[in-house]
């Protein structure tokens, strides 16, 4: 969520554990604006925290004027000093999917691949040495996966200009309560996959400046999002069941929205059994 709304957002989006003690929360309020100044970001989003066994990583994202451009990600262990993370590559993401288990909490920790059975992995072993992956890279890859899979925004919040860049829609006044309860009013904020497969009839109803992303309606498996009205039906909270810990909140008819991830950084592969 936006760093400026951090305090209200944490009240609305909490599932019980925010991972942020009061001290860290106060520290964030002081260090995030400094990040904006030092790295010359247009805006800073506090992405959330990934809890390792010993320590937790706190992640912030900085965005430039084009919201669809690759974002810079920074991590910190104490919410005061931030370090830039390397950008995510496909190879990193593929390697990270093979790892399982919790994060350790130490960015220089090296994971060793225990089982290398499939033929695909033989490619990696061409060098002849043990396959290792640093925790930092695993962190980057996990954040990228989570953003791709479950990073969501409400419909009409972002607009695509004719030049291709994505901007915030200044006319967005919030979803109505009826719209907010439907999954089709929320979009994945990544490269769309299903959009091209829509029939021409459906595409005719879409507004190319607003509907340029995939909506949540057709997520597989169905039921992987829970939509709830909390706090006396004043806040709509969406929680992902695929990545447990991702919470998205929106106050209908206002401009407040955002998502935060606070969890162990593991995909819930048991989802089909649990529904």
């Amino acid at each position: 969520m936006d760093a400026s709304e951090l305090h209200t957002a944490l009240q609305l989006a909490t599932s019980g554990d925010t991972g942020l003690s009061l001290e860290k929360r106060a520290a964030l309020g002081a260090s995030l604006p400094l990040l904006q100044r030092d790295y010359r970001f247009e805006r800073v989003w506090f992405w959330g925290c990934i809890q390792g066994v010993r320590d937790a990583y706190y992640i912030a994202q900085g965005l430039g004027p084009d919201l669809a451009a690759p974002r810079s990600r920074l991590y910190s262990l104490n919410c005061v000093e931030w370090s830039l993370l390397p950008p995510a590559t496909e190879e990193m993401v593929a390697q990270a999917e093979l790892l399982e288990g919790r994060f350790q909490g130490d960015p220089s920790f090296e994971y060793e691949y225990a089982e290398v059975n499939t033929e695909d992995d033989e490619r990696f072993l061409d060098d002849g040495k043990e396959l290792t992956m640093k925790e930092e890279n695993r962190l980057v890859a996990t954040i990228e996966q989570i953003d791709r899979a479950v990073g969501i925004i409400p419909r009409r919040a972002f607009m695509k200009t004719p030049l291709g860049s994505v901007h915030e829609n200044r006319n967005f006044e919030g979803l109505s309560l009826m719209e907010a309860k439907k999954l089709s009013s929320y979009f994945h904020f990544t490269e769309p996959v299903n959009l091209k497969n829509k029939t021409l009839l459906e595409k005719a109803d879409l507004d190319p400046s607003i509907d340029f992303l995939d909506s949540l309606e057709h997520d597989v498996p169905q039921g992987s999002w829970t939509v709830q009205l909390e706090k006396g039906s004043t806040v709509v909270v969406l929680r992902s069941l695929l990545w447990l810990g991702l919470t998205f909140y929106h106050v209908p008819m206002t401009k407040q929205y955002g998502y935060i991830y606070c969890g162990t950084g593991e995909k819930n592969l048991d989802l089909p059994f649990m529904l």
Partner: protein
């Protein structure tokens, strides 16, 4: 500077109005006025499709912009134009008036507001002021958890506090605690852990007994009918003995749990948990929907609905993650408690008046400063082991008949004793069972020690000075490395092996029977002749 050109000076005609170099193209002011009017008439022309005209539309758009004064109007000009056009379609005078929209938030607000009203039971006011109230200080516990970043927002916690107060005023409760919140797909559960006053047990037990008695009666009737019909074979199948649940007030059923979906909604009591439910809950992993009567569809089939599954998970979480600082509880001093049933495990612990707290850093450094104060649940599903081979007095008469089927002796199951330190907790591979942290490193004098469980993600505990607390915020599942593999269905039972004793043979036809009969008679004739010959031979032999 040159003054106005006078007619006799050169360059006179160049700057005169009407005589400039381009003035011959708009010769007349009248013409300019005419072109202006043409342009305006064009703008005022109404469109056939929408009935608007551009002139009025531009007037409205500019008026809106000047009224509202947004920043950078040129960037959102199209949107403003669209909004103004959309506003045209609202009728001002309409005989049909929109019904005032009733949002669901109003109903929820009403429910919450009722929490703040004082209901009947005003007579209890005096007792409350005396200080002996079972209501826990939820806000104080929430404060300590908040230091560690755990908990709901403050106003939500306060509403839960008021909801607990309502619960306490309605039910005869001795101790009460906010246990935590479990998330569900449609709705969430807020759970309160409660102990009744002694002797205030509900009457649901008698209801169950009545049901049992009726069931038995019906069975007897059926058996009588069968005997009358001629006694069909009774099956020799004996189902495995049902392990009885623990008494209310002991073991896994020590506390009673009440749940509600939102603060303000009525509290519902959860039924006590049976060992079969706990054993099954260990094998399945399902999300909660938020409705207590929802069925739990799983394999192995769960004996109960969502209320039972919820109760089983609560029991497991409590047994696995309720911890307290070392020394807070101590064993009750009783004489002769070595020979109790179940071996040397002690079941009761009480608060230790001589408890000396450690600093937060010491609590966090090593896990041996924390202990479990809730008995763990054995594989059987109970806290105290039950020997299913113990025959009751009624069945002893039948023992003599069934001596063939004595099963092997079951091993008594023993779990870790009460008040084991957390350092004995097993981790999962290289992940320790708990993660400890302090709430602040900058002000260590007031730091709170926070424990997060890794085996049950969502279970938290804090300790600060003489205070401690446990709470759960999560989905209600245990952490499992690797994928959850549900139990496979049991193999298909083998059929009775095919053998000659059960294989059917075709009945012989009449000809075959006659032939067989003839052959038999012939054979008997032959054998009789042989016997006669033998007799003759014998007689001959005897004569010789």
């Amino acid at each position: 500077e040159h003054g106005p050109y006078l007619p006799h000076e050169p360059g006179y005609g160049l700057y005169q109005p009407g005589y400039g170099p381009y003035d011959d193209q708009t010769p007349d002011p009248e013409h300019r006025m005419l072109s202006f009017q043409n342009a305006k008439a064009y703008l005022l022309k109404s469109s056939v499709t929408s009935g608007l005209n551009l002139y009025d539309h531009l007037v409205n758009v500019l008026a809106k912009i000047l009224d509202e004064q947004p920043t950078d109007p040129v960037d959102i000009f199209e949107n403003i134009s669209k909004d103004v056009k959309a506003a045209q379609f609202q009728k001002k005078m309409d005989t049909l008036r929109d019904e005032h929209e009733v949002l669901p938030s109003f109903d929820s607000a009403e429910v919450r507001r009722n929490l703040f009203l004082k209901t009947d039971g005003e007579g209890d006011e005096e007792r409350e002021e005396m200080g002996e109230t079972p209501l826990p200080n939820v806000m104080e516990t929430a404060f300590y958890f908040e230091q560690g970043g755990i908990g709901l927002s403050r106003d939500e916690t306060y509403l839960i506090f008021l909801a607990l107060k309502k619960l306490v005023s309605v039910q005869p409760i001795q101790t009460c605690r906010f246990w935590g919140r479990i998330l569900g797909q449609e709705m969430n559960y807020i759970i309160a852990e409660v102990q009744y006053h002694e002797g205030e047990e509900e009457e649901e037990e008698t209801e169950e007994e009545e049901v049992m008695v009726e069931g038995e009666k019906r069975l007897d009737e059926v058996e009588d009918e069968e005997k009358e019909k001629g006694e069909p074979l009774k099956s020799t199948y004996k189902p495995p003995p049902v392990i009885p649940k623990e008494e209310n007030g002991t073991g896994a059923n020590k506390y009673i749990y009440f749940v509600c979906n939102e603060p303000g909604k009525p509290w519902v009591k959860l039924p006590p948990v049976t060992p079969a439910q706990i054993v099954c809950a260990r094998k399945i992993k399902k999300f909660f929907t938020g409705r207590l009567d929802a069925p739990v569809v799983s394999f192995p089939p769960f004996p109960g609905n969502e209320a039972n599954y919820l109760r089983a998970q609560i029991a497991r979480i409590s047994a696995g993650t309720h911890v307290s600082p070392l020394g807070y509880y101590r064993f009750t001093e009783e004489e002769g408690d070595e020979d109790e049933e179940g071996g040397g495990g002690r079941d009761e612990c009480e608060e230790n008046p001589e408890f000396e707290p450690l600093s937060a850093f010491e609590m966090v450094e090593s896990l041996s400063t924390w202990v479990h104060h809730v008995p763990s649940i054995l594989n059987q599903g109970r806290c105290v082991w039950f020997n299913p081979l113990q025959k009751t007095e009624e069945e002893e008469g039948e023992e003599e008949e069934e001596k063939d089927e004595v099963p092997d002796e079951l091993q008594q199951e023993v779990g870790p004793p009460l008040l084991t330190p957390l350092s004995e907790d097993e981790g999962i591979q290289n992940i320790p069972a708990w993660t400890a942290s302090v709430s602040t490193k900058l002000t260590p004098q007031y730091a709170v020690a926070i424990l997060r469980s890794n085996r049950w993600p969502g279970a938290y505990a804090f300790a600060c000075g003489t205070k401690f607390g446990n709470i759960y915020f999560g989905w209600g599942h245990k952490y499992s490395l690797g994928n959850h593999t549900p139990a496979l269905p049991p193999p298909v039972q083998p059929e009775y092996p095919d053998g000659p004793e059960i294989s059917e043979a075709t009945d012989p036809t009449v000809e075959e029977e006659l032939a067989f009969k003839a052959a038999r008679e012939q054979k008997s004739l032959e054998s009789m002749e042989e016997e006669e010959e033998e007799e003759f031979e014998d007689e001959d032999d005897d004569d010789d």
